[in-house]
């Protein structure tokens, strides 16, 4: 059996952080430059990259046998990531309110706003470091990858949150997040089906023959489903008066569906090429006694 080399997790972290932030900023900047909302779907790409990063980190932690199951890690990451992310976005809003750093890069995008996700990411990484230290040294989990892994999943959670906030509302400004995501209750699906693509891949592919590329393909497929659902949710923000814009949600949903079909078929192809017996139907295979 040939040993396929796994992608190094620091590479994936760089992809997640840099790629994620670039996609989120691109969505907001493109919308501001063209004075439309159509580019909200670009933020989904950022969330997907961060999900791939997070799913790999979950793999590395859980490979050592975590004892309570893989899903709790996702809940932990998103639970601790929420308030640090909100704080980062609030700092940006506070700075704008105080009038500092308000020179705009592009119309409608002050520097202070751009700083928000970066501060949110840093605070989440700090939170992850604290919890990782506690889990490893006080709760004595004895998992070598726990410290770094915990930092990574907290950071990934933060970027996933901001990516999906931007997908649904078109911006990550704090007042919009509070009224349109928390006030409507959409934070519940953002939490749950934002966390699920991060924890589902390893949990679903669990077993001695688990393979990184297949697991990460599943991460992309799951987060594309989430994108489609959030596209429908963004109807509540865009399709109401005064914006009355049905096109933005439609773009997100249609592009999401097309990309999802491709991703699902890619996953199916990987399952077939892995060598598992696939039978149309039949009785149990005879096993030697």
């Amino acid at each position: 059996m040939s040993e396929v080399k796994d992608i190094d997790w620091f590479t994936l972290a760089a992809v997640g952080i840099v790629g994620g932030l670039i996609c989120i900023y691109a969505a907001v900047v493109l919308n501001a430059v063209f004075k439309v909302n159509y580019f909200a779907f670009v933020a989904a790409a950022g969330a997907i990259l961060a999900t791939v990063w997070g799913a790999d980190a979950v793999r590395r932690i859980c490979k050592y046998g975590i004892g309570t199951g893989v899903p709790s890690i996702g809940m932990l990451a998103f639970g601790m990531g929420l308030l640090s992310t909100l704080l980062g976005l609030k700092v940006a809003d506070y700075l704008i309110g105080q009038g500092t750093l308000t020179t705009t890069l592009v119309t409608g995008v002050p520097i202070a706003l751009v700083l928000g996700p970066i501060i949110a990411l840093i605070l989440s990484l700090v939170q992850g470091a604290v919890v990782g230290y506690l889990a490893q040294n006080i709760l004595k989990m004895k998992i070598p990858t726990m410290q770094m892994g915990m930092i990574f999943i907290a950071g990934a959670a933060s970027i996933i949150y901001i990516g999906y906030f931007t997908l649904i509302t078109g911006t990550f400004a704090y007042p919009t997040v509070i009224s349109s995501i928390l006030g409507t209750g959409f934070i519940a699906p953002v939490f749950m089906i934002g966390a699920l693509p991060m924890l589902h891949p390893y949990n679903a592919c669990l077993g001695p023959d688990e393979e990184q590329k297949r697991t990460l393909t599943l991460a992309v497929e799951s987060s594309l489903m989430t994108t489609v659902i959030f596209g429908i949710l963004s109807l509540a923000i865009f399709a109401v008066a005064p914006k009355s814009d049905i096109i933005t949600p439609a773009i997100t949903v249609v592009l999401g569906l097309i990309a999802w079909v491709i991703a699902y078929l890619a996953y199916w192809a990987r399952v077939k090429e892995s060598g598992t017996i696939i039978l149309e139907t039949g009785v149990l295979p005879k096993k030697e006694a």
Binding site: L76, M80, L83, K90
Partner: protein
């Protein structure tokens, strides 16, 4: 917002998170083996069992707090609660002393909601164990039930660790549910008092609850039967870990409140 109020909120959230973490240790969790009648306890995972009951406590606390707020049906009995909440003085020293009755009611509402959900989870499962599986409800970790004095070991199937949820485990689950509900509703009220909107306070409470529930379940590593289980002696580690983790999260929350939530 006054600094003293913010510090009290900080301490309140940290304390609440620690209570949640402690409460998880009282809940009798059998996990997957319990669903196979191989272990005593309720058949859900540790994290999610505490979370399920704690959130029902949160729902009860939410509606009680709303009733006490200006315009609700209880506002006439607790007239100072609504103005203190909107004025941001609910957790100031004078706010707490003026509203002790209101606090007590909201926190007890959280406890009762959580205990109700928890006890139904345990007892309806017992109905199934007794009639559909046909086993007595016993624990293999003690020779006699500490509360009822019933002999346990003769009634345990050979090769298992017990089955069902005997009375000591049911009582332990009530304590666990009460602590979880208390913690959850305290976080909710603290965030609300700091100026968060209702939805933000509710989801903030949910996030902090998950954080503590998962850390406590890491401490337990699998299953626990309640306060009579030898694993229960590990609780100090969880208290330290949960309090530090919640303290950091509480700092973020208080920072948001300082900047005007």
């Amino acid at each position: 917002m006054e600094p003293i109020t913010l510090i009290i909120i900080l301490i309140g959230i940290t304390l609440a998170g620690t209570l949640v973490g402690l409460g998880v240790h009282f809940v009798p969790v059998g996990g997957a083996p319990a669903a196979m009648a191989q272990a005593t306890g309720i058949g859900t995972g540790t994290t999610m069992l505490a979370a399920a009951s704690g959130f029902i406590g949160l729902i009860s606390a939410g509606i009680t707090a709303n009733d006490m707020n200006t315009g609700g049906q209880l506002a006439q009995y607790y007239p100072k609660f609504g103005p203190a909440l909107t004025g941001g003085t609910l957790f100031s020293v004078s706010g707490i002393t003026d509203n002790l009755g209101a606090f007590a009611l909201v926190l007890v509402a959280g406890m009762v909601g959580a205990m109700l959900a928890m006890v139904l989870l345990a007892v309806v499962a017992n109905v199934l164990y007794a009639f559909a599986i046909g086993v007595p409800l016993v624990s293999a970790k003690v020779k006699k039930d500490p509360i009822t004095g019933d002999r346990q070991d003769l009634y345990v199937t050979k090769g298992t660790e017990g089955h069902g949820t005997p009375t000591v485990a049911v009582v332990s689950s009530l304590i666990g549910g009460a602590l979880g509900g208390l913690g959850g509703s305290l976080i909710y009220v603290a965030l609300l008092a700091g100026g968060f909107t209702i939805a933000a306070a509710a989801f903030g409470a949910i996030g902090v609850f998950f954080l503590n529930s998962v850390l406590a379940s890491y401490n337990i590593t699998g299953t626990i039967e309640g306060f009579h289980d030898p694993k229960f002696k590990r609780w100090p580690r969880a208290v330290i870990a949960c309090s530090i983790a919640t303290f950091v999260v509480a700092i973020w929350a208080v920072a948001i409140m300082y900047m005007g939530a």
